[in-house]
């Protein structure tokens, strides 16, 4: 049975059903991938509403884009790459630099446990204070696991610049979290 509804965490979503835009398959894919996508995109774009717009566009175009998905790859990784490209395209269009997002702490990193909340918000707040050029690189490296080469190609910078930005971002985050501003 190819169109089976699959509980969360049990791969794979039926790719054939996704290609047809089947609502149940779309729901499974959304439930499985949207939380991590929204985390990455909210930090990259600095605004939750923009992250939701990207996820909206991503899933609206997903069934047709599936025609070019090669099954030997990881579906989740493929989806994340497209989402990141959409986000980069948005960043290029708006051309904002170094803005501190007000919304960044909302909707991302929420957790119920006591101390964890303080830690989480601190890391998220620290990320929000980074200039966009550093924030994007650290998100792609730490959350998405991209190589410096991949980051460089997508952002149109050199591999060395990607590596330096990653290290500068970590340095700044460390100082912010240690209170050494």
């Amino acid at each position: 049975m190819t169109d089976a509804l699959v509980p969360r965490g049990t791969p794979p979503t039926s790719l054939a059903a996704l290609k047809r835009g089947d609502p149940a398959a779309m729901a499974v894919a959304y439930e499985r991938h949207a939380p991590a996508l929204l985390r990455t995109l909210t930090i990259m774009l600095g605004e939750r509403s923009e992250a939701e717009d990207v996820v909206h566009d991503l899933f609206v175009g997903l069934p047709e884009a599936m025609a070019r998905y090669e099954e030997r790859g990881q579906f989740g990784g493929w989806l994340h790459r497209i989402a990141v490209r959409l986000a980069i395209s948005r960043l290029r269009r708006r051309g904002r630099r170094g803005e501190v997002a007000i919304e960044a702490a909302d909707g991302v990193g929420h957790r119920a446990e006591g101390e964890a909340v303080a830690d989480q918000i601190t890391v998220t707040d620290a990320l929000a204070t980074l200039p966009e050029s550093l924030r994007v690189v650290v998100v792609l490296r730490e959350y998405e696991g991209w190589s410096h080469r991949e980051i460089a190609a997508h952002l149109g910078i050199s591999e060395g610049a990607a590596m330096t930005r990653h290290c500068r971002a970590l340095q700044k985050l460390r100082r912010t979290l240690e209170g050494d501003r």
């Binding site: 169109d3 509804l5 047809r20 835009g21 149940a24 779309m26 729901a27 959304y30 439930e31 949207a34 939380p35 985390r39 909210t42 939750r48 509403s49 992250a51 939701e52 996820v55 909206h56 566009d57 991503l58 899933f59 609206v60 997903l62 069934p63 047709e64 884009a65 025609a67 070019r68 998905y69 790459r81 497209i82 490209r85 395209s89 290029r92 269009r93 708006r94 051309g95 909707g107 929420h110 957790r111 830690d119 989480q120 890391v123 650290v138 730490e142 959350y143 410096h148 190609a153 997508h154 149109g156 590596m163 330096t164 290290c167 500068r168 970590l170 340095q171 985050l173 460390r174 979290l177």
Partner: protein, 399 residues
């Protein structure tokens, strides 16, 4: 005296991106230096804290918005291809494993394949000035979109002139374009305008190519004078389940009838049938929703009809409300079209003098072109055409 490595060197070491010589030097130093060891550990803690950040919640409302957009016929072309720098690397590696092919020959083959997919056109549908802007996109300073203005709208029976309408049969294609090349082409919607022989109403028909949406065409019957929708009908099929939706405007009421038919004679578990029914709504329902919109745009064909009947000129600004009906709710997406100038647009269907317009709708911004002679939709670019990667819908045939 102990020589400490610089902070950047320590960060590189902690991030795992130090070259071998630096890695050995720092490792040797760390064995004897508590201070630098603490810096490295602190950087590793930051990385661990980043990885431990919880995922965001994914709201059900967002999923409903996605499905409502798809149900209304919205589609988005996604940047599936990696940037050229990465593609070149992959292709070169593949060539290395097989027969030796020189890079120019390889690119000629790939370029030929791309051109074939692009309906025998290399993708430069715009004038050369626009192509130059794309090629030099990285040197173009980023621009902030102009502020949104919503000061005028198209009154129901005002400047629209239904006498400008004529029968149309237009075929569009969707093209993704990056790095000065067409990346992919897919067939887009077909738009037809014609008179209903029975009641003389205009019919605005949008049909999608097979494979992108299993549907019969969306058909909207328009009031012959005001071009408001009188009734409309759509139908789609997923997994053998056919859903038909018909809506009728009566005063300020929208009557909706939705019927879903599960496939007969196909073995299906109860859970599967229930989930499909849940996803598609009840099997046969009728309901009424309030609406008081004088001017709504419900499909590409309907928008085309409205623009044909509108007195377009530079500075003209129209406001449409796009109505999505999904699970017994109407969501409204305000949308504006502003004519900003003129442009000559080259398409596979011909070369046209066009009005250039900016269309904005809920986070989307599109640059569009409408033919000056009769207002028909010639094409649009999603995103800024000065960005390195963008998508276009463009007229490819007119009958």
């Amino acid at each position: 005296m102990l020589m400490h490595p610089g902070e950047l060197a320590l960060t590189r070491y902690a991030a795992g991106s130090a070259a071998e010589s630096l890695r050995r030097r720092v490792a040797g130093h760390l064995a004897d230096c508590d201070r630098c060891r603490a810096t490295v550990q602190s950087t590793r803690d930051v990385r661990a804290a980043l990885k431990a950040t919880a995922e965001a919640s994914a709201p059900a409302a967002l999923f409903e918005r996605i499905m409502a957009s798809r149900a209304s016929g919205a589609r988005a072309l996604l940047p599936v291809e990696a940037p050229e720098a990465l593609q070149l690397e992959v292709r070169t590696l593949r060539v290395g494993n097989g027969p030796t092919i020189s890079r120019p020959v390889l690119w000629a083959v790939l370029g030929g394949a791309a051109a074939f997919g692009a309906i025998q056109v290399g993708g430069n549908y715009l004038e050369s000035s626009a192509v130059r802007a794309i090629t030099h996109a990285d040197r173009t300073p980023p621009r902030r979109p102009a502020p949104l203005t919503l000061d005028t709208s198209i009154p129901a029976a005002g400047p629209l002139d239904a006498r400008r309408m004529r029968p149309l049969n237009l075929q569009y294609g969707s093209i993704s374009f990056a790095g000065g090349k067409t990346q992919s082409t897919v067939a887009g919607p077909r738009v037809q305008l014609r008179r209903d022989g029975g009641n003389g109403q205009w019919m605005a028909i949008t049909s999608w190519p097979a494979g992108t949406r299993n549907s019969v065409p969306d058909t909207i019957w328009l009031n012959p004078e005001t071009l408001e929708p009188a009734r409309w009908h759509s139908s789609y099929r997923t997994n053998g389940v056919t859903t038909e939706i018909s809506r009728q405007v009566a005063g300020n009421q929208l009557r909706v009838r939705r019927s879903t038919q599960l496939p007969a004679g196909v073995p299906m578990t109860l859970a599967r049938a229930e989930s499909l029914t849940k996803a598609n709504g009840a099997t046969d329902t009728s309901y009424t929703l309030p609406t008081d919109h004088a001017t709504v745009a419900l499909s590409i064909a309907h928008t085309t009809a409205l623009m044909m009947a509108a007195p377009l000129a530079v500075g003209w600004r129209g406001r449409f409300t796009i109505l999505d009906v999904w699970r017994r709710r109407i969501s409204e997406r305000p949308s504006t079209i502003t004519i900003t100038g003129s442009r000559r647009v080259v398409t596979p269907a011909g070369v046209f003098d066009c009005w250039e317009a900016v269309k904005r709708s809920e986070g989307w911004e599109r640059r569009q072109w409408y033919r000056k002679s009769d207002g028909i939709f010639v094409g649009e670019a999603l995103a800024d055409i000065n960005s390195p990667m963008f998508y276009r819908t463009i007229l490819i045939a007119e009958e």
